[in-house]
C-alpha cells in the first residue's frame, strides 16, 4: 500500500485518465503486440478496461506482463487515455506482489552486466556469441538464445572522458550519455561530444549512473525511482543548473523528460529541473538549425541509409528531427522506414517467452529493410539497433554517426 502512496498525485492522474476511454478501440488496432499474439489481449483490454477491476494489493490479471511498453497506444489514443502508463503501473504491482525473476532483475541493470563484462570483454563477447553458452543461458536464466546482446568493451566512455581535452566555451551543455554509451558503444558518446564541440559548445559530462528505465519497464519501480532520482542529482553539477541536458539515448531521454514523473511518480527539485531541460540530441540540433546556428559544413556522404524512428523517440512527440537534419547532408539517399516497432522494446524481446513475439512484431520492418538493402540502417535507440542488426544482418548506426561522418569524422 505504501507503494501506491509514493507519487500518489501522478498516479491518481494516470488512473483518472481511464475515464476518458470511450472504447473506440483505436489503440487495439494500432498495438503491434496484440496483432501477433493472443497472449496479449490488447491495450484497451488490459489498460482502461482492466484498470476498473484493480484496487491495488492484489492483481487480478497476468496478461498485462505481455505489454511491451512501446507506448504506441498512448500516442494514438484520441481521448488521451494514458494506456501504456496504466499498463506499466499494473505490471509493477504484479512484480511487487509476486516478485520478479532473476532474469528480469538482471536485464533491468545494464550497468551490472556492463561492469561484469568490461574487464573480460573479449571473453564476454565470445561467450555471448557461443551457441552452447547461450542455450544454457536460455534454460537457466530465461534470456532467449538468439536474443540480441550488445558487445562489451574494455574502454568505457568515462575512461575516454577522463582523457579527453574538451574545448572551452561560454556556451555549455550537459551530456547525458546513458548506459549503452558507457559500457557498450563509447564511440556514440565520442561522436556526440565531437558534434557539439564542432558547433561551439563546451560539453560537461558528469559522472552518471543508470536512469532506471530498464528497472521501470521490468516493473521494479522502487529501484527505478531511486536510480532516476540519483541520476538527476548527478546531472546537476555545480554551476550547470540552467544548461540544456542532451541525451543520445531516446528511451533514457524520455525517462528524464516524462516517464520518471508520470509513470514512476518520482519527484525531486533536481528531477523537475533536469526534466524541463532535457533534449534529444537531434531535437537540440534541429532547434539550432532553425535559429541558423547549426554548422552545415557537410561533406557528401554517398550512402543509402534507411531510417527507423524508434517508439520511445516517437513518444517524445518531437516529430522525427533526425530525418530533418540528415536531409541536409549532400549525397545521402535517405529512406524513411514507416513501420511502428522493431519488437525489442528495451528488454522485452530478449526474454525467452517473448522473443518470438518480438520477432513477429518487427517482421514488417525487417522485411522493408531487406527489400531496400541499404548500406546502413539508422535508428536513435540502441536496443532497436541491436534487434535490427540481429534480425536482418544489416549494419545499424545511430543517425548522429552519419552526421559525424558528414562533418568529416571517420
Amino acid at each position: 500500500m505504501t507503494e501506491v502512496a509514493w507519487g500518489a498525485e501522478a498516479w491518481s492522474e494516470v488512473r483518472a485518465s481511464l475515464d476518458r476511454c470511450i472504447k473506440c478501440t483505436v489503440c487495439e488496432t494500432a498495438c503491434p503486440v496484440a496483432a501477433v499474439t493472443e497472449l496479449f489481449p490488447g491495450p484497451k483490454t488490459v489498460g482502461p478496461q482492466a484498470e476498473r477491476f484493480r484496487t491495488g494489493g492484489h492483481s487480478p490479471d497476468l496478461s498485462v506482463d505481455y505489454c511491451s511498453g512501446c507506448g504506441i497506444c498512448s500516442r494514438v489514443c484520441p481521448q488521451e487515455v494514458r494506456i501504456a502508463e496504466l499498463n506499466s503501473r499494473a505490471r509493477s504491482e504484479l512484480k511487487r506482489e509476486r516478485g520478479a525473476p532473476l532474469r528480469d532483475q538482471l536485464v533491468a541493470r545494464p550497468g551490472l552486466l556492463g561492469r561484469a563484462g568490461r574487464p573480460v570483454a573479449p571473453l564476454f563477447n565470445w561467450a555471448m556469441a557461443n551457441s552452447l553458452i547461450r542455450w544454457a543461458g536460455e534454460r537457466t536464466v530465461g534470456i532467449h538464445r538468439k536474443a540480441p546482446v550488445p558487445r562489451s568493451t574494455t574502454r568505457t566512455f568515462s575512461y575516454w572522458v577522463g582523457h579527453h581535452v574538451g574545448t572551452r566555451s561560454a556556451r555549455r551543455v550537459v551530456y547525458f550519455h546513458g548506459c549503452s554509451t558507457q559500457w557498450y558503444e563509447p564511440y556514440v558518446g565520442q561522436k556526440v561530444t565531437a558534434i557539439l564541440e564542432h558547433n561551439g559548445f563546451q560539453v560537461v559530462i558528469p559522472k552518471q549512473d543508470c536512469c532506471g528505465l530498464p528497472l521501470q519497464s521490468n516493473g521494479l519501480f522502487p529501484a527505478a525511482r531511486k536510480a532516476v532520482t540519483k541520476l538527476a542529482r548527478q546531472l546537476v553539477p555545480d554551476g550547470t543548473g540552467d544548461l540544456p541536458v542532451i541525451s543520445s539515448s531516446t528511451s533514457c531521454g524520455l525517462m528524464l523528460k516524462r516517464e520518471a514523473r508520470e509513470i514512476l511518480g518520482a519527484d525531486s527539485p533536481e528531477l523537475r529541473s533536469v526534466s524541463a531541460r532535457t533534449y534529444d540530441i537531434f531535437e537540440f540540433l534541429l532547434e539550432l538549425h532553425q535559429r541558423g546556428e547549426l554548422r552545415t559544413d557537410f561533406k557528401p556522404v554517398p550512402l543509402t541509409v534507411a531510417y527507423h524512428a524508434p517508439c520511445q523517440q516517437q513518444n517524445q512527440l518531437i516529430g522525427k528531427p533526425a530525418l530533418e537534419i540528415l536531409r541536409l547532408i549532400p549525397g545521402l539517399r535517405l529512406v524513411e522506414l514507416d513501420r511502428s516497432c522493431c519488437g525489442i522494446a528495451g528488454t522485452y524481446g530478449v526474454k525467452r517467452e517473448k522473443y518470438e513475439i518480438a520477432m513477429r512484431v518487427g517482421e514488417p520492418l525487417f522485411a522493408d529493410i531487406q527489400a531496400e538493402g541499404p548500406d546502413l540502417v539508422a535508428c536513435d535507440s540502441e536496443t532497436c539497433r541491436w534487434q535490427i542488426s540481429a534480425a536482418t544482418g544489416a549494419t545499424s548506426v545511430h543517425p548522429l554517426e552519419i552526421l559525424h561522418r558528414a562533418y568529416g569524422g571517420s
Binding site: 500500500m1 505504501t2 501506491v4 502512496a5 500518489a8 498525485e9 498516479w11 491518481s12 488512473r15 483518472a16 481511464l18 475515464d19 476518458r20 476511454c21 470511450i22 472504447k23 473506440c24 493472443e38 484497451k44 483490454t45 478496461q49 482492466a50 484498470e51 476498473r52 477491476f53 484493480r54 484496487t55 491495488g56 494489493g57 492484489h58 492483481s59 487480478p60 490479471d61 497476468l62 496478461s63 481521448q79
Partner: protein, 518 residues
C-alpha cells in the same frame, strides 16, 4: 384461473420480501413470493450498495446503529458471496465539527461497532485520493453489497426449501372474507393471465409501495416514500467506503461497489414511489459534495444517475407485535389484526438493506404466531447458497476469470467482462423477456459505455438462439437503450457526453434504432 395454496404469500421481491421468503422457508412454511416486476427492481436495486457498519446512525439513531453493527456481523457469516469487504473510513473534513468526532467515537463504541481511530497519514496512505486536509479518521466495518446477488441468493435458498417465486405478477385484488385476508389475485404482466394464491398469512413487503398494497386490502399504511438520488462514478476512487464524520446529510458517503464509486444521497419526500426523476440540481449538489471527500471528484466521469424511494414510516404509525424496539430508522412490523382488526395481513415497513435479515425474523415471528406453526428462526446461522466457502467477492474476480476464458468464449460486455457463456448460463437458468433483467443478473450495460456496445450483441444473440422473435428483439433493444438513456441524460458532460455521442451514432447511425421493424 390457476390457483395455488400456500402458508405465506409475500408481496414484494426486494430485499425485505426475499428475506421473509428465506426465513419462512427455513422455518418449514410453504411460501410464495410475488413481485409486479423482476426482483430487486424497486428500492433494493436502487440504493448505494452500502453494508452499514452502524457508523452513519451512531450519533443520531443509536438503535439503528446497534442493529446495523449486529446484522453486519451476521451477514458477513452467512452471505459472504454477496458482500465485498471494503472496510470503511469516517473522516473529519475541514467542514466537519471535531467535537462531533468525539461523540461519534463514544456512540460507535456504545453501539457495539468495531472502530479504531487511525492517524491521518495512514488514512491518506491507504486512500491516495482522500482529501489531504482531513483532521481525524476512523476505521469501521463498512462494506458493499451486490443487491442482485443477495436477493438472488435469498430466493434461490427459499426455492431450495420449497418456495415458489413469481416475478412479473402484480397484485390486482386482495381476497378478503369479512375481517380476514385469505390471499390475493395476481396478473402476470407478460401474459395477462391471472393467478389466485390462497394463503394462511399475507406479508406486505412492498416497501415504499406497501401503502398501495395495503389499500388493496382496505387499510391504510402511512408509508412516506423518501427519494434519494445517487450518482455512479466510472471507477473506484477509493478502496474503502468514505464517510464524512458529521451528522448525516446529503452527498456525504462514497461507496465502492463493483466497478464504480457511488455517491449518495439525498432525501426528498415524494408522493409516488415510482417517481424516479433526478433533477440536474440534485445531481450537481451531489457531485459538488463529493469534492469534500475526494478533491477532483467533479472532474471524474459520472456514469449514471438514479434514485430510489426509502420506505419511511412516520413515528405515529407506532409499532405493534414486534416487541418494544424503539421506533426509528429501524423497521416496524404492523400486525393489521391488532391494529385494524384485519387478520391474515402483516406489513413490514421501514428498515434498510443491511438489516433485512432482522426485519424478516421479526416479521416471520409475527406470522408464525398467527399461523400457530413454524419453527424457530434459523437465518442467523444458515449460510446462503453460494456463500458456503465464506469468501467475500472481490472486485478483481471477473478480471481474473476473464484471463482464463477460452478464446471461443468472447466477451459480449467488455466494460463489465461478461462472456457469451455467462449470458447463456443466466438465460438458461432464468428465461426472461427483458434485457434489463439480464442486466441485473450480469451487469451487462452497466459499465462506461452504458450498453453502447453490448446491448445489440445481447439482443442479437438471443434472437439467433431463437429466444427472441425479430419484433421482440427489436423492442427489447429499444426499451433497454431508452432505459439506459434515462440515467445518462442528466449527466451528459465531459467524457460521458463523448461516450453518449458515440453510442448514439452506433444506435441511430448504424442500426437506425428508431425505425427498426416492429
Amino acid at each position: 384461473m390457476n390457483t395455488l395454496d400456500t402458508d405465506v404469500l409475500v408481496i414484494g421481491g426486494g430485499s425485505t420480501g426475499a428475506g421473509v421468503a428465506w426465513d419462512s422457508a427455513l422455518r418449514g412454511l410453504h411460501v410464495t413470493l410475488v413481485d409486479r416486476q423482476d426482483f430487486a427492481t424497486g428500492t433494493s436495486g436502487r440504493f448505494h450498495g452500502l453494508l452499514h457498519s452502524g457508523g452513519r446512525y451512531a450519533v443520531k439513531d443509536p438503535g439503528s446503529a446497534r442493529e446495523c453493527a449486529a446484522e453486519n456481523r451476521i451477514l458477513r457469516q452467512v452471505a459472504a458471496d454477496c458482500l465485498e469487504d471494503t472496510g470503511g473510513l469516517f473522516v473529519s473534513t475541514p467542514e466537519d465539527d471535531l467535537e462531533y468526532a468525539d461523540r461519534f467515537l463514544a456512540a460507535a463504541g456504545a453501539a457495539g461497532m468495531e472502530i479504531e481511530e487511525i492517524p491521518v497519514g495512514v488514512a491518506l496512505r491507504d486512500e491516495p485520493r482522500l482529501n489531504p486536509k482531513i483532521r481525524r479518521a476512523f476505521r469501521v466495518q463498512d462494506g458493499s453489497i451486490d443487491s442482485w446477488k443477495m436477493i438472488s441468493a435469498l430466493l434461490r435458498g427459499a426455492q431450495a426449501h420449497g418456495a415458489t417465486v413469481l416475478p412479473y405478477h402484480k397484485v390486482v385484488r386482495v381476497i378478503r372474507q369479512g375481517d380476514r385476508v385469505e390471499g390475493a389475485v395476481m396478473e402476470d404482466q407478460r401474459t395477462g393471465e391471472e393467478v389466485q394464491v390462497n394463503a394462511g398469512c399475507v406479508v406486505n413487503a412492498a416497501g415504499a409501495w406497501s401503502g398501495q398494497v395495503a389499500q388493496l386490502a382496505g387499510c391504510e399504511v402511512g408509508v412516506r416514500p423518501g427519494k434519494g438520488v445517487m450518482v455512479a462514478i466510472n471507477h473506484r476512487l477509493a478502496r474503502a467506503v468514505l464517510n464524512r464524520c458529521h451528522m448525516p446529510s446529503d452527498g456525504d458517503i462514497i461507496v465502492p461497489v463493483r466497478t464504480v464509486s457511488v455517491i449518495g444521497t439525498t432525501d426528498h419526500p415524494v408522493a409516488d414511489p415510482d417517481d424516479t426523476e433526478c433533477s440536474p440540481e440534485e445531481v450537481h449538489q451531489m457531485i459538488e459534495a463529493g469534492e469534500l471527500l475526494v478533491p477532483g471528484f467533479k472532474e471524474s466521469r459520472a456514469l449514471r444517475v438514479w434514485s430510489g424511494s426509502r420506505p419511511l414510516l412516520p413515528k405515529t404509525e407506532g409499532s405493534a407485535g414486534a416487541g418494544d424496539r424503539e421506533v426509528s430508522r429501524s423497521h416496524t412490523v404492523l400486525d393489521h389484526g391488532a391494529r385494524d382488526g384485519l387478520e391474515g395481513l402483516v406489513t413490514i415497513a421501514g428498515g434498510k438493506f443491511t438489516t433485512l435479515r432482522l426485519m424478516a425474523e421479526d416479521t416471520v415471528d409475527v406470522v408464525v404466531g398467527k399461523l400457530g406453526r413454524g419453527a424457530e428462526c434459523r437465518t442467523r446461522t444458515e449460510v446462503l447458497p453460494g456463500s458456503e466457502s465464506h469468501r467475500f467477492y472481490w472486485i478483481g474476480n471477473r478480471q481474473q476469470e476473464a484471463e482464463t476464458d477460452p478464446p471461443d468464449d468472447p466477451l459480449i460486455c467488455e466494460c463489465e467482462l461478461v462472456s457469451q457463456h455467462d449470458l447463456d448460463t443466466v438465460v438458461a437458468r432464468r428465461p426472461s423477456w427483458r434485457l434489463d433483467d439480464i442486466r441485473r443478473a450480469l451487469r451487462v450495460g452497466m459499465g462506461p459505455c452504458q450498453g453502447g456496445f453490448c446491448a445489440f450483441r445481447v439482443a442479437g444473440m438471443l434472437h439467433q438462439e431463437g429466444r427472441y422473435g425479430r419484433a421482440e428483439a427489436n423492442s427489447a433493444l429499444r426499451e433497454f437503450v431508452q432505459e439506459r438513456w434515462k440515467g445518462v441524460k442528466v449527466i451528459s458532460w465531459g467524457a460521458q457526453a463523448r461516450q453518449t455521442r458515440l453510442d448514439r451514432w452506433i444506435f441511430e447511425g448504424v442500426y437506425d434504432l428508431e425505425h427498426l421493424p416492429e
